[in-house]
């Protein structure tokens, strides 16, 4: 069964450093997402991406964050100048169509900022 894959599974970074989290969505999917889950809290939407541009973003997704689809398969989340409070599990997700269709999640990238 096709799946969303994410790398790295776990990354430790120093405060102030830049981090890039990588994702390979399911191959025929057109809609891509990043979600975040701080330990012990609920899953929060960060950004959605379609047709090579951001469709929607939350208030969390400020200038510190950016997304990119550099080629036909990868979808990346860049976090600049990381802060302690950026420590969280970051989930990439994709769906084949927009409204209503199931969103499939990757296994997550656990980011620890020290």
């Amino acid at each position: 069964e096709p799946e969303v894959t994410q790398t790295p599974s776990h990354q430790v970074t120093q405060m102030g450093q830049e981090v890039i989290l990588r994702c390979v969505p399911i191959s025929n999917h057109l809609y891509f997402y990043w979600y975040r889950q701080i330990l012990g809290q609920k899953v929060e939407f960060l950004v959605s991406f379609y047709n090579n541009e951001i469709s929607e973003k939350s208030e969390i997704f400020d200038d510190q964050f950016s997304v990119e689809r550099p080629d036909g398969s990868n979808f990346t989340l860049k976090i600049r100048s990381t802060k302690l409070e950026d420590s969280a599990m970051y989930f990439c997700a994709s769906s084949d169509r927009g409204a209503g269709n199931t969103i499939y999640f990757g296994e997550g990238s656990w980011l620890t900022v020290v």
Binding site: Y31, K42, V43, F45, S48, Y50, S58, G98, A99, G100
Partner: protein, 116 residues
Amino acid sequence: AQTVTQSQPEMSVQEAETVTLSCTYDTSENNYYLFWYKQPPSRQMILVIRQEAYKQQNATENRFSVNFQKAAKSFSLKISDSQLGDTAMYFCASRGYTGTASKLTFGTGTRLQVTL
């Protein structure tokens, strides 16, 4: 805007028994979809079941079924014949129909422990 509420932070059930997890939601949209996701200790988000709001029939997936009460905006998950592998965090989520990539809105989750 959509909100999802799960009022049971933790629940416990004995193996082979049945348990129901509650979820209520609020949305201004006419068409929407509802989901239950499971998050085991590995923290992966796994789709359990989905319900299309315009369908009156409750969705069923093997041991998992939902009780969808549209007027009451209630969407509970029933797990029958509970297994130890069902131990996980369960998140209820909703997704609107408008827009090209409408986002999922999650509840705060219910931690389910299945015991021997």
